[in-house]
Point group: D2
Amino acid sequence: MTDYSPQSDNYIQLVQEAFSKQGFMQYLGVEIADIKPGYCELHLPFKPELDQHHGYFHGGVIGSLADVSGGFAGYSLLPEGKAVLTVEYKLNIISPGVGDYLKGVGRVVKQGKTLIVTHIDVFGVSKDNEVHCATAIQTLIAVTS
Amino acid sequence: MTDYSPQSDNYIQLVQEAFSKQGFMQYLGVEIADIKPGYCELHLPFKPELDQHHGYFHGGVIGSLADVSGGFAGYSLLPEGKAVLTVEYKLNIISPGVGDYLKGVGRVVKQGKTLIVTHIDVFGVSKDNEVHCATAIQTLIAVTS
Amino acid sequence: MTDYSPQSDNYIQLVQEAFSKQGFMQYLGVEIADIKPGYCELHLPFKPELDQHHGYFHGGVIGSLADVSGGFAGYSLLPEGKAVLTVEYKLNIISPGVGDYLKGVGRVVKQGKTLIVTHIDVFGVSKDNEVHCATAIQTLIAVTS
Amino acid sequence: MTDYSPQSDNYIQLVQEAFSKQGFMQYLGVEIADIKPGYCELHLPFKPELDQHHGYFHGGVIGSLADVSGGFAGYSLLPEGKAVLTVEYKLNIISPGVGDYLKGVGRVVKQGKTLIVTHIDVFGVSKDNEVHCATAIQTLIAVTS
């Protein structure tokens, strides 16, 4: 992973503010676990409202967490006044979403002038176990917010 | 679009039952609008809990609706006792998710022995307008449920 | 499919010129079959150099044809002096690449200010048969050439 | 990256044999650089027949190399008598394909009963430089060959 430099000193605060404005993140119950330049880790505790027919995390929840983990990884590198939009992402679900919580880890792979590409992995975390649930690639576009 | 034949006479009921077991679909508020062999249309009325920072439908909501629209399009073709899992999907968000409700339309493109490939489009629908928000390709795998 | 208006009167000539500069297209043997605004159809006759282990068109050939079919569908809409670069694409191979020639059909789904999204389908065409080999979504970016 | 165990002692020979049957790989000029269980590195020297309009490696060439690098990473884990087919892949081109040769690196991320998921990176390599050109996720299916 490349080292990235944020373009704003208070990039952590900017991420927290942007995150707090997304009603859907609160509705799901997503929490910011770690923000570094070009890196974002989010946690999402299980609750029955998030399940599919087997009682695991729903694929849509896994996808949502992936999308946002990558999005804020990219957002952490932008100057104040800029925001990111998701252009597209592709997600492989490689194991069922089982665990006490989901951990989404987004990393910037390439920061271009206009576009940012991220890799994202999602894990189902239990007391004694961590399962790799999903892996994704995402393209973001930087826009004036 | 190819015409498909369902392998179960009560494929609509099977879809409804499978759908009703997904807690996350109820939590979002997704409703089945139409089921035909190899086709599924879902609606999701707007509520503030589903928004991102501009007050539009969150990308994760759009992605979740896409995933499930494609999933049930595939599921409609299976015999009783089978289910589908999402292997992967790729989603381009081409317009903001604005509207009174989102409409997800999933169509089977290829039904193989093991894998099913679907196309999905998501629209933001208002009284006088329908905007194409997202387009996706999805791979499903048929499993014994 | 939406109707699109080209921004240059001689968009067909511009496509032909750009196409002729790609050594790899000549090496494969790709031919332009049809260009309309937001639409590009390419043909690629079979030759043994393009095969995989079963003697069918290689997946890389199918992917290359898809990429370029979408690329020129997008390029057909640009003003003179602009070009497209492929940001990313996602391709499902749904049937083996069998046939006398491959037909790649690219269509613009969304033309944004910076980005263009296309759908692409690839068919294996024989005298009496046409098989849908692959389906793809592609993101292009318009740049100054 | 997980450690994987091959199911055949002569997995390297099996990869070499399968590779040699793909006419398109010889036509491009691809060479096997390294095979380990769940890992495949391929090299492709530049020649003008592989270029796009700027004289760099064509995107279709990058995509082909990515597809095959991932495919043989997966193939290396299979027992004799099995083969892989590409179900789908998604590729982001993050830098132009510049260099004396392209290096494709495929790694298995998940080996399931039926499906194998790989990550692939492609680099443009010059005497003093290595540029990350592309990153991809691929889904393979194991079949009886």
